[in-house]
Structure formats: C-alpha cells, structure tokens
C-alpha cells in the first residue's frame, strides 16, 4: 500500500487520498479510529487494528494512537504492555505457537517446551537472535482432542512430540541457511 | 558453668562487631557472665562444639561463608542473625542485581590500582556465590537482631536476655532496620 506513493506525479485527488505521513497504512488505521469517534474507550480496538495493519506496535505508532484518541502516552503504553496479544517488537519470520493448555500439558507439552527452547537457544515469548523463529506460548488453542498441539505458521499441528516439533523448526532453519 | 558464646563475621563490614565493642564497660560485666569461645576478636582458629549462643554478622556471600553457616548451625543451640546483613542481606546483597562476573570484574579489574586480575583458582580463596543471601536462607535462625549496625544497647539487651535463657522479645525500640 505504501508503494502507491512512489514515482507518479501527484494530482490533487491522489494527494488527498494519501496520508500526511506518506504511509497510507495510517489511513486504514484512521478509519478504525474514526469509526470509534476518536474515543479513548476504544483503545484496545484501535490497538488490535494497528497491530493487524502494521504487524506490531512500534513506539511512534503508539504515540500516533495516543494523540488520535487524546490519551496520555503512559496509559497507551501501559495498556499495550498489559495484554499479551500485543507485541511491541517485530516477530520472527516463522512462528511456533505451543499450546500449554491443561490437556496439552497433561499430554507432555512441557517436554516439547523444554526441548524447543533448548534447540532454539531462546525462550518462549522471544524471537531467535537471527529473527527467524518466534516462540510463542498459548494458553489454550482449543484443540484439546489433538493434544499436544502447536500452531505452526498459522496451521494447527496436533499430537506432537518433541522430535516432530524440532523437525519443523529445523526445516525453517535449513531454509535460512540455504538462502 | 558459664554459657558459651561465639560471634562470627561472614560477609559484612564488621560494623556490627565494632558496635559490640561499643558496649564499653559493659563488656567487663559480660565477660563475667559468659565464655567467649570463638570470635574475630578472640584468637580461636576453629569453631568449637556445644556453643550456647552464636551471633552471626554478615550475609552469606561465598562458599566459605556457606560452609561456616552449616558448621555454626550444627554446633550452636541458638543462632542469632546479628545486624541487617545477616538478617536481610543489606549492603552485601546490593550486588545481587548484577551478574557475579560483572561484580568481580568491577571490583578487581576496573577499580584495581595495580595488577588487575580476578583472584580465583586458589584453594585459599573462597568462590563468590551468585547471590549474597541472608543467613536464614541457608540455615534455620532462632533470633534476629536488626540495625546497620545494631546499637550497643540493642546488643546488650539481646545478649543479656539470651544469657538468662530467654528469647529476646524485641520491642519496637529494638526492631529497627537500617
């Protein structure tokens, strides 16, 4: 979307459609903000929208939202860091979301947890140093019948073992090496 | 037979012992009521057995301290945490927010005047623990004497009570952090 701002000579109509920041993704965000009448009560909705549009919540983005909703900066920052769904850092190229719900736990998710952390040299909730893999821990993805479960790049993978989990991660790492 | 008393100096500044000496002439009275069987101010090399009361100054901050704490516990009827470092870690524990290696580097390399090096790998040099810890996290402790340092009056009161076979019930006057 940002690419629409390149090269062509600006006619007035196009300029009006463009966001002053030069990043038209903000227009999408503005739409959500306007829908909620710039109300501070809609902060969480707006953060959801912002994360959906930008992928993560950068400091400048939070400041933009605070101004638009007329909220104190620290309130916005406090809310963004309270909820685990919001991420203030870009996530890795791949994500491995391990379910740690009770059913998965009873069926051995803790072992997978340990092995994966060991293999990736990074803790759940973090991204590997090379920015390739983000490890995320979920409370319950609701596929308890398939326990233990992980959501691997958006796809639910059930009845996992430590070995089968590591295989998937190794595959990403190999791709990275060959690239 | 007089009660056997010991005082020990672990990871602290010895300010508590200085305060002990601040009891001044009362020390003479105390000497008549107890035997000081082990102390940094008495020339005894090994911790004796069957000690009635041991006052322990300082936090447990290296492996020698830790070993000593266990020896103290096994051989003392009453163990008293003597001063804030023993009670809560206090100044000795201020390093706990930092990594052990960083602390050593800061102390022995960055601030060294001559020959900067971290002393280790020698049998007589104790190994610093990852965290300095209050005494009661290492061994069970029977009484706690606060203050940095505890005042001579506090010490006098506590020791007198213990020598009478009573647990010192500290009034708020004697409950005094810092």
């Amino acid at each position: 979307m940002a690419s629409t701002t390149t090269s062509r000579p600006p006619d007035s109509r196009e300029a009006a459609q463009r966001h002053p920041s030069g990043d038209n993704r903000f227009k999408l965000l503005d739409r959500t903000i306007t829908k909620h009448h710039n109300s501070g009560d809609a902060l969480i909705e707006v953060l959801h929208a912002a994360q959906g549009i930008f992928g993560y919540l950068e400091n400048d983005l939070l400041i933009y939202i605070a101004r638009a909703l007329r909220l104190p900066l620290s309130r916005v920052y406090g809310v963004a860091t309270f909820y685990h769904f919001f991420s203030l850092k870009p996530s890795g190229k791949h994500t491995f979301v391990l379910c740690m719900g009770t059913a998965c736990y009873v069926k051995g998710a803790a072992v997978i947890h340990k092995e994966v952390e060991h293999h990736c040299q990074c803790k759940f909730g973090e991204t590997t140093a090379d920015g390739n893999v983000s490890l995320v821990q979920a409370r319950c993805v609701g596929s308890c019948g398939l326990a233990p479960v992980a959501v691997v790049d958006g796809q639910v993978a059930g009845k996992l073992t430590a070995a089968s989990s590591l295989d998937r991660i190794k595959q990403w790492q190999d791709e990275e090496v060959t690239r | 037979m007089k009660p056997r008393v010991a005082t020990v100096w672990l990871g602290g500044c010895s300010g508590c012992h200085m305060s002990f000496l601040d009891m001044d002439e009362r020390l003479i009275e105390l000497a008549g009521r107890m035997d000081l069987v082990y102390s940094p101010i008495a020339d005894v090399k090994e911790f004796p057995r069957d000690v009635d009361v041991t006052l322990v100054e300082g936090a447990v901050t290296n492996d020698e301290n830790e070993e000593m704490a266990h020896i103290i516990r096994r051989n003392s009827r009453f163990v008293v945490s003597f001063g804030d470092c023993a009670v809560s870690g206090n100044v000795t524990a201020l390093r706990n927010g930092f990594d052990k290696e960083d602390v050593l580097r800061r102390a022995y390399v960055e601030l060294a005047d001559v020959d900067p090096q971290i002393p280790r790998d020698h049998p007589t040099i104790a190994e610093l623990m990852a965290k300095a810890r209050p005494l009661h996290e290492i061994i069970p402790v029977d009484a706690f004497l606060h203050g940095c340092p505890p005042t001579a009056d506090q010490i006098w009161f506590a020791v007198s009570e213990l020598l009478e076979g009573r647990m010192p019930a500290f009034s708020p006057v004697y409950l005094r952090y810092g």
């Binding site: 109300s39 501070g40 009560d41 809609a42 902060l43 969480i44 909705e45 953060l47 959801h48 309130r75 406090g78 809310v79 309270f82 909820y83 685990h84 769904f85 919001f86 740690m100 719900g101 009770t102 059913a103 736990y105 009873v106 069926k107 803790a110 979920a138 409370r139 319950c140 993805v141 609701g142 596929s143 308890c144 019948g145 398939l146 326990a147 479960v149 639910v156 059930g158 | 037979m1 056997r4 090399k45 090994e46 911790f47 004796p48 057995r49 069957d50 020698e64 070993e67 266990h70 020896i71 516990r73 096994r74 051989n75 003392s76 009827r77 061994i139 069970p140």
Partner: protein, 566 residues
C-alpha cells in the same frame, strides 16, 4: 419483523430442508477444522458434484459435535449416522457408499448408542452439530428467536425475571450466583442507561465450552442477551470475547449482522418499544479479564485490573451504569427456559443446581470432547461411561475441575454428584466447565506447579498477595519438586496459600491457591515424600562442654561427626 413474519421464515426454511434428499453435516468447530474438516467438506462436495447431487444434497458446517478427539466428524441428517476421522477419501466413500448405495462405511461409523451419546442431555448444545452455524434461517426454523418474540410481545420484564428465578438457573461462569436474582438487582437499579454484557473471555486452559457454543449456535447467545436486555432495561449489549477465538468472532459478527438485517436486533424489536444492540469487544490475551470488574475495565479500553466489590457491576458497571454480566452458557440457557418453562428446567438436575452443565473433557481419557450432562450426575458416570475411562494400562488418579481456580478430585470421591455445592465440599469448584482427567502418570506437585505458573503469569499485579504471593508459592513448589524442600518450606507454603486466598483482591488471586490446597489435601504424601528435615543443632554427647574440642572442620563436615567424636 413481527411474530408472524418469524413463523413464516421458519416455515420457509423447514420446507426448503424437506425438499432436499439429504443433508451432510460436517463439524466446523475449531477442533475439527484444525484436523482438516474443510478439506473433507471439499471432497464431499466434489463427490456430490461428480454424481450431480449437489442440488439435492446440502453440505453444511455445524457447531461442535462433541467427540473432538476423533475429528473430523461428519453426520448424515436422514438417519443420524455419525462418522469419525473422516479424511478426504472417507468423505468420498460416504457419498458413494452411504448416500448412493445405502451402505454405511463401517470402519468410520460411530456407535451412537454408546454412553458418550446416550448419557448426555443437551439444552445448551441442542443445536450444535444439527444446524448450520452461519444461517439465521436454520436457527429460526429450529424455533430460534421465538422466545424473544414471546418475551417482547407478551411478557412484562418482571415476569421474565420471575421465570428465570423460578427456573433456578445459576451463573455458569463458575461462581453459581442465581441468575434471576442478578437480573432483579439490575432491573431495580435506577438509571437511564443500563448494559448487558456477555462474558466470553473463556480463559481456563483446557476449557472450550463457550467457544463451541459461540461457534455452533451464535444466535442463541444473541437471543439470550436480548431477552436479558429486555428484562433488566438495557438497550446495549457487549460480548467480550477473547482474541484467541477467531472463528467464534467471525460467526458472531455474521450473526449480529444477520439479526440486525431481520430487525431482531436494533430499534423497535418485534414492533415494540424495545431497542437492543450488540457490539463485540475483542480481548487481547489476559486471563484476569474473565473477572467481571476487570472485564468492564477492558471494554473501556483500559488495563484489565479488577477493583474491589462492592459496588457490584449490577449497580456500578460500564461507564458507571448498572451492568448485567453473564457468561455465555448462562445466556444460552435463557431461550429454552422461556420456551419450555421454568418448571421444565427446574426439573432437570438437582434442587439447588438445576439444568445441565457443559464440560470440556480432556486429558488422560479416551473420549475427549464436549459433553452436556444434567447437574448432579456422579463424576464416575462422566469419566467412565461418557468419557470411556482412562487410556489402556493406566489408572484414574484425579479429575481436575475449575481450571487454575479449581481443585483435584481423587478416586475416593468419584461418586460425588457434580453440582455447585458438592464440588465445593471437596475443595473444588464447578468452574466454567473444564474437566481434565489425570491418570497414574501425573505427578500432583507438578500439576499444582503448572497451575501456579499460570496464575503467576496471569496475575495483573495490582494487589500484593497475588502479585508476589503467587511467585513465592511457585518458588516453594519448585523447591519442593526438586527435592530441596524442608518441612519448614511446606509449612510456609501452606501458610502462604491461605493468606493469598484470604487477602487477594479478586477471584483470580482468591482461588489461585486452590490447586495447591486441594492436592495437598488429597495427595499430601506426594509432597512429603520429597521433603527433608531442616538442619539443626547436634549436641555433643560429652556432658562437659568445656572439654569439647573444636568442631568438625571444613574437611569433615557431614554433620554426624560431632557425635562420633565424643
């Protein structure tokens, strides 16, 4: 929209269905979707098309069919056959053999006369697995929105509340507060503006009852909320749903749109003066937002930190206005009570816990999935009849209800009737409906640690006992589980558990100790087996301490030395 219009819609839809040769229902709830039920659907559709049956046979996605461990599940409407583990090939065979040749595909056919199906009684889930979750027409054809029509056109708000009160319905979110009573309080509160909120922030790990209802029968919740809104005098409803349920969110959005289009939500519902709108509010990953005051905070775009009660939300809620908060399953019971009467509902279950309860059965059990049983059914029936017992070669050890706020129920209490009061007598709670079975391989100290890890992580940090206490409880459990704990540590643990329970601000902290206390109550030996005694004074045998030599030096400090010396 009038009541007549509603009937007309229902008839039209029923006619449409009657004209079909058959309907193939596939489970489109998250569990089955994640094992590939969409691929199965496509295979079935393709097979139908190949045989030119696509107009005569309808393929539709429904809510949860229950047996989540054996998905994807497919059901044939005409004879009620249910198939398990239907992959693409099996889907094709069902069309070919069952539909065309009248021959059932034996290997995948589920015996629906087994207790898993026959022992259940479905009220909340009555439409799940039967109707198309994305079609309002099907919901209406199944009698949907009839209760709302009746309430709005024929009943006074007080009568509605009285009906709910007489039914004995209690809050299904866990605490079991009488629903009718709550509605009455909100009704009585004096205010121009009131709100009705649906708590769909189902956060217990291992619980997915609400999600299944929302995915399978979203209109049921909308109808229940609208009835509640009418009864208490609210014109605005909010559904607070967790972001982890994208499918449920999608279905709810669609359902709200459909209902608005037909005038079942909005202004002048059934041509009365009653206006009611529903908006979604999406949670953002905080378990504590299941607590009602934290939930209200979150709806207002704030950190989900609870506040002390009183005042209760029924008096001071959203934006300071009286607010009714009920759980998904509670709202799902409203329409059936209005339709069939409070006496019918009160006749199900036990006198104090009426109706049914949905449980998500998981863990070391053969039939994992979603079940609905009358209140008061013995735990044994749930686990051994419906659940089929623990997997081969293992033995039942405990059942955990109420998630991180609940407790473990050991084998000796298997005959306990499952109702609010009975569960409380053994230190557990009904909770929202997660039921996790543990077998002989489960280590109870580890189980307690698992739940404490959860509570520690989900603590909002507002009050001290929960913020710091849970950390220390976890630490003590960890010390003990590593075999480093002493009897003193166990005493400290118990004291702290009681203190956190007594002093925490909200339900999260107040119930955080339950898993520890209940495992301590029933499986204490698993803790004590790991303990050692704290170190203590070893007196010298010598009666004359003056003659005692130096104590054991650093070279010989194993503690027994001083006695052997003398």
């Amino acid at each position: 929209m009038t009541t007549e219009d509603l009937h007309e819609l229902a008839e039209k839809e029923t006619d449409r269905q009657r004209q079909l040769r058959d309907r193939i229902l596939y489970c489109a709830a998250a569990g089955c979707v994640s094992c590939g039920s969409h691929a199965t659907r496509d295979a079935i559709k393709k097979a139908l098309k190949e045989r030119n049956l696509e107009k005569e046979v309808e393929v539709l996605g429904t809510g949860c069919m229950g047996l989540c461990g054996e998905g994807p599940l497919v059901k044939i409407s005409s004879d009620g056959s249910v198939y398990e583990r239907v992959d693409e090939e099996t889907g094709r065979r069902i069309v070919e053999e069952h539909l065309c040749e009248g021959r059932k595909v034996g290997a995948h056919l589920i015996d629906t006369s087994q207790p898993f199906f026959s022992s259940q009684q479905k009220i909340v889930l009555e439409h799940c697995g039967k109707i198309n979750a994305e079609s309002i027409d099907e919901y209406i054809a199944a009698g949907g929105y009839g209760a709302l029509a009746r309430v709005v056109t024929e009943m006074q708000p007080q009568d509605v509340i009285e009906e709910i009160r007489k039914s004995g319905l209690r809050g299904r979110g866990g605490a079991g507060y009488p629903t009718g009573l709550k509605w009455g309080i909100v009704r009585k509160a004096k205010s121009e503006q009131k709100y009705a909120v649906c708590n769909a922030d189902e956060g217990d790990p291992g619980a997915f009852m609400d999600r299944s209802v929302l995915e399978g029968d979203p209109h049921r919740i909308l109808e229940g909320m609208a009835i509640a809104g009418y009864a208490v005098g609210a014109n605005q409803g909010y559904i607070y749903i967790r972001a982890e349920y994208p499918l449920a969110i999608e279905r709810l959005k669609l359902a709200i749109k459909q209902a608005e289009r037909l005038g079942l939500l909005g202004n002048r519902i059934f041509e009365s003066d009653f206006n009611f709108r529903i908006d979604l509010r999406i949670g953002a990953g905080a378990f504590v937002c299941g607590e009602e005051t934290a939930l209200l905070r979150s709806i207002q775009g704030r950190r989900g930190r609870p506040r002390p009660r009183p005042p209760y939300p029924s008096e001071v809620g959203l934006w300071g206005m009286p607010t009714l908060i009920n759980n998904v399953e509670t709202y799902a019971n409203v329409a059936p009570i209005i339709n069939r009467g409070s006496a019918w509902f009160a006749g199900i279950g036990t006198p104090k816990s009426t109706g049914t309860k949905v449980f998500a059965l998981a863990g070391a059990i053969r039939n994992t999935g979603l079940i609905e049983v009358p209140m008061g059914i013995p735990l044994r029936n749930i686990i051994f009849d419906i659940g089929g017992g623990t997997p081969e070669g293992t033995e039942f050890k405990a059942a955990q209800t109420g998630g991180p706020s609940g407790g473990c129920i050991p084998a000796e209490h298997l005959d306990l009737p499952v109702d609010y009061e009975s569960l409380a007598t053994v230190g557990s709670i009904m909770g929202s409906g997660g039921l996790i079975v543990m077998d002989s391989t489960s280590n109870m100290v580890e189980v307690a640690k698992y739940f404490m890890d959860f509570c520690m992580d989900e603590s909002c940090g507002k009050c001290i006992p929960c913020r710091v206490g849970t950390v220390h409880i976890y630490g003590l459990l960890d010390t003990i589980s590593r075999g480093k704990g002493t009897t003193d540590d166990l005493a400290l643990l118990e004291e702290l558990c009681v203190m956190v329970k007594e002093t925490s601000l909200c339900g999260l902290g107040q119930s955080a100790s339950n898993p520890v206390l209940s495992t301590l109550k029933f499986f204490r030996h698993e803790y004590t087996d790991l303990l050692s005694k704290p170190e203590s004074f070893v007196p010298s045998v010598s009666p004359d301490p003056a003659s005692a030599g130096p104590a054991d030096g650093p070279a010989a400090n194993d503690g027994h030395d001083s006695t052997t010396h003398a």
